[in-house]
């Protein structure tokens, strides 16, 4: 079930100060599944009303936010962990080691090994734009 579609993209790379043409694989994102659609799908599979599903999702997201900003490492089911990532600079003496040395704080997500395995097992197909458009035209004519 499922699988990723990829296309081949032409790229320019610098090889010893010389521009060389190359090709690489790029994922074709079918689309972005909007919040409403995700909530609708989840509500159907859980057998609860959409409004309740939305309220639960927001409550879970707020709980994650609360724990993350208070310095906890939060596990997000089988997907991975959320935690804060602090970027700071080194100083010469202990006295200089103050909050000023912190440059940036970011939210960091680490996927779990389980989800990495699932992604690695998913099928990778080449995106055939021509055949896809032809099949969609056929479907339209049948309708």
């Amino acid at each position: 079930m499922g699988g990723f579609k990829y296309r081949v993209k032409k790229v320019d790379i610098d090889l010893h100060k010389r521009k060389v043409e190359g090709y690489k694989v790029q994922l074709v994102n079918d689309s972005i599944i909007a919040e409403e659609e995700v909530v609708r799908y989840a509500a159907q599979s859980a057998g609860i009303p959409e409004s309740m599903m939305r309220a639960c999702t927001i409550a879970i997201a707020d709980a994650i936010r609360f724990y993350v900003i208070n310095g906890h490492k939060v596990s997000f089911g089988k997907f991975g962990n959320f935690r804060l990532k602090v970027e700071n600079t080194c100083v010469d003496t202990l006295e200089e080691c103050q909050a000023d040395t912190v440059k940036r704080i970011n939210l960091h997500f680490t996927p779990s090994t389980k989800i990495k395995d699932l992604l690695n097992k998913a099928e990778l197909k080449k995106w055939d734009f021509l055949s896809e458009s032809a099949s969609s035209e056929e479907n339209q004519s049948e309708e």
């Binding site: 699988g3 995700v38 859980a46 309220a55 409550a59 879970i60 936010r65 900003i69 935690r83």
Partner: protein
């Protein structure tokens, strides 16, 4: 620029740590702040907090959480990016080698498949330096200080 309401400010603990910079000449010893993890939070803790905060039955939250995981799993495995309310977007990215000809660019040239997370603006703002208070803990004999970027150095 619009102000983003982030809710209550966060609080993290950090402690000074001695580090040896091996990559520099003479391997100098320096100090830097290290993040002190407050603890590990599991799904059960999340459910308990959410049930109390939103006045929703725990059973309902457990069902919702499982369904949410299934939805992300289902859509991500088809290559879609998935938006979660108040949290952010999960999407799959491919890393691949650059090859000389289009024929060589196939599934075998893919080196890594990654699940990326892009937080929502509000969540990102809540996790930024402006909205988090840094407490420096006494680990290396340093006096306990409660400092933020604005009033750094003011002892309690």
């Amino acid at each position: 620029m619009d102000t983003i309401l982030t809710g209550p400010k966060g609080n993290i603990k950090m402690f000074p740590q001695k580090v040896k910079l091996n990559y520099l000449e003479g391997e100098p010893e320096k100090y830097r702040l290290h993040w002190m993890r407050s603890g590990d939070i599991t799904d059960e803790d999340i459910i308990a907090y959410a049930a109390q905060a939103a006045h929703v039955p725990e059973a309902c939250l457990v069902l919702a959480q499982d369904a949410l995981y299934d939805a992300i799993d289902f859509f991500c495995r088809q290559g879609h990016a998935v938006q979660i309310p108040n949290l952010g977007t999960f999407s799959v990215k491919l890393n691949s080698k650059v090859v000389a000809t289009p024929k060589e660019a196939n599934a075998e040239s893919v080196t890594q498949r990654r699940l990326r997370f892009y937080p929502k603006k509000r969540l990102k703002a809540a996790c930024s330096l402006k909205n988090i208070r840094i407490n420096i803990e006494d680990v290396l004999g340093l006096k306990k200080k409660d400092v933020s970027r604005k009033n750094s150095g003011n002892e309690e």
